[in-house]
Symmetry: C2
Subunit: 498 residues, 2 copies
Amino acid sequence: MAERDSNPDARLVIVSNRGPVTFSRSDSGEREHSRGAGGLVTALNALSRERSEAVWIASAQSDEDASVAEETSETGEPQEVEGLRILLVEHETEAYELMYNHLANPLLWLVQHGLYDLPYSPELGDETRRAWEEGYLPVNENFARAVARLLENSPEGGEPIVLVHDYQLYMVPHFLRERLGRDAFVSLFVHIPWPEPEGWRVLPGYIREGILESLLEANVVAFHTKGYVRSFIRTVRETLGVEVDEEEGVIAYEGREVWVRPYPISIDPNEFEELAGSEEVLEQEETVKNLPGRLLLRVDRMDLSKNIVRGFHAYDRMLEQHPEMKGEVTFLARLQPSRGDIPEYARYAEAIKETVQGVNQKHAKESWEPIVLSMEDDFMLSVAAYKNYDVLLVNAVRDGMNLIAKEAVVANGKNGVLILSENAGAHEELGENALTVNPFDIDEQAKALYEALTMPDDERARRFEALRRTIQANTIEEWAEAQLEDIAAYRERYGKGR
Amino acid sequence: MAERDSNPDARLVIVSNRGPVTFSRSDSGEREHSRGAGGLVTALNALSRERSEAVWIASAQSDEDASVAEETSETGEPQEVEGLRILLVEHETEAYELMYNHLANPLLWLVQHGLYDLPYSPELGDETRRAWEEGYLPVNENFARAVARLLENSPEGGEPIVLVHDYQLYMVPHFLRERLGRDAFVSLFVHIPWPEPEGWRVLPGYIREGILESLLEANVVAFHTKGYVRSFIRTVRETLGVEVDEEEGVIAYEGREVWVRPYPISIDPNEFEELAGSEEVLEQEETVKNLPGRLLLRVDRMDLSKNIVRGFHAYDRMLEQHPEMKGEVTFLARLQPSRGDIPEYARYAEAIKETVQGVNQKHAKESWEPIVLSMEDDFMLSVAAYKNYDVLLVNAVRDGMNLIAKEAVVANGKNGVLILSENAGAHEELGENALTVNPFDIDEQAKALYEALTMPDDERARRFEALRRTIQANTIEEWAEAQLEDIAAYRERYGKGR
């Protein structure tokens, strides 16, 4: 892109809580590292690869990460690993705990997904303020300090571009401006849903206003869908009384203009096509292929937002209404335990297990097990399941995007049918060729399951090809490109002194 | 008003599920009636009194109501009672049960107040559809039929004006237009919160679209606050893709214009001033005045939206932080049992009782009982408490308006302090002179309780007078006037053929 090339020497910094690798020591005492999993890491890898000079700043997670953090903090030089340049930030244990397990999860996560049982919870108060002041703020300030130091150490090159990611780091733009002034370009990408203003009213004023004012210190605030963009703009208008241009996605704030933009995140299709042909996946496929009948699949973290219990209830209802389907389908639920320390999550995991047991006892027939609950942490097994599903169920109560819907379609070799919640971010792109469900309607989901399991081959093929084309047309590279183009356009328009 | 007088002979019909009186038989076999309680009935009385020819149509509730319904259905003549002209509509028991206890409460009520625990409930499906098709729709059609028959029976007079009320009757405009065409003026007043579009997505498409399309058959859709007006306009735009003018509150729909307007409901201050001096209230005051220390009061139905449990937790926290307040305050909780057949409500009532017990056991001292739970159905006792509170707690999670805040201020003789949730509709009018609280923040509520209980006399007096002036400036008469003026303006503007 012409605009992009006009700033070839810009210094690009990516900031996210989780980094692309975790360091450890081998038994023989050598430093090793393992790649992080998860869609965000893949996506940021793509961004990072677009710019070889990029530095990626993340929290130290392991003890060895902490050593790396100390070494790099002395030299100021990023650690080079697998073509990435990484700087790790160490936080005080208690501050990180307060940020991560009290403020970001569960509070911001549950508020942004609308998952609280509001007559009873949350009960906020001074503990919330402490998690904010002694956890969230210092951790965010640590990141800003690390960015500023990095940029001080490499003063040559163009104007800095700092891309901050997700709900753990909302206050980084605020702390960055204190240090860098207005010369740096700063964006913040929110990867989870942005609720409407009413949803934000659950939070104390100092948190919701603090977050919004910090985000307006960025030049671009980015989301996965047009819907979240709209909700953000309204939240700013109603909470801060700031002038906004909803059509253009521009917020005028303190003499500057903040762009609010949707960039639907995607995946690297090549990665999944390669994985699908890999030795490990071929091995795992035997397990999957041995399951009787058609393969109904879900792959999720055991998160309150994923709607796992209702999914089983819908399957139960489908089997009640179509007993002829018994033995003709197996529901493989690949569920990854998550956030078990949070009481709401522990209770949800219990509810899931009880529901599986109940449905299996009710419908089991000879050797046939209606639901196979698979909780191994084995990504290759998930990919093997992606390859072989006949029907994929994604019925989330609410979901920022849901990359599993995209990964699974790309890897699938069976013209699999996608059942997709209208409240998943992915629905804006994939809804047209999926079977859309209201996540709260059990009978609608039961009908969608039956329809998907009995869909004629030609319709399966038509829908599947359309889904695949949609995903191929917006891969992770286009996602990264679109952001870099907008950055160039923004800088072109407003120049350096924003 | 000139415009109003230009249609002096308009035929005014008020439609609400609950009517102003309930009929019964005395022991000697005579027909008797008792006045209904509740803010809506008072308000509609005011509307009705503005127009002596008005007829009020409501559901038959008692057996004797059903007899009245049959008699009036034969003659077509409304029953005259206390200067009101009443027509009662009888429904099939099952249809009414489905409408009332399945569709309107809990579903619409909980969705519109945002009270579901979304990871688990609601579980919608075919039962929901049945409650809609066999309950809500037929009951609403019964009302439309009764209105049409009434108007047929009195063809002389001007163009009809039909004022439909609240969430039990959303489909009445739809069925009315089928019968009356576009010559009648129809408004629908929503007395509970209108959530943002996201909140509505919990409902199945056929319900949310059915409701919205019916409401757009009205000429005016009315709410208590500007916030609900805004949310309604957005819900229409996002759900139906209809063109809206958010600034002007006008929705263009099928060649017509629908006005969306806020009319904050109020009370009749004279009624409460008279009550406050009545013999019955003076008697009840003895009980209230005997409670030790300052009087902290709440008066609520035991509804999930009222935030009763968190209110007790905040009081508990205040007593922990200020043990010197023990014995210096009594928390009188006047709580009216409500909707006990609905499991969520039964569970909430249990939680309330357990919490009261816990707080009382923890803090009780000599003869002092920290919380006095009073569940008698005795309005005079409530008014006696209104007169004598030092602090009134209204901390609702969400509340359409909350008329108790207005009633209590008007009756109070102690310069009482109002603690008011920012999520109560009344906050738009009263927030400035109340102590505002976030309903989810226990410590903030605990601080507000302490601040209110220890507030200097001059500040109490200043705030109290300002609250009283605000309420006196917008009484129930202004509320009724404002609507009738807008009706005249609407008819002036668009003429008869809308």
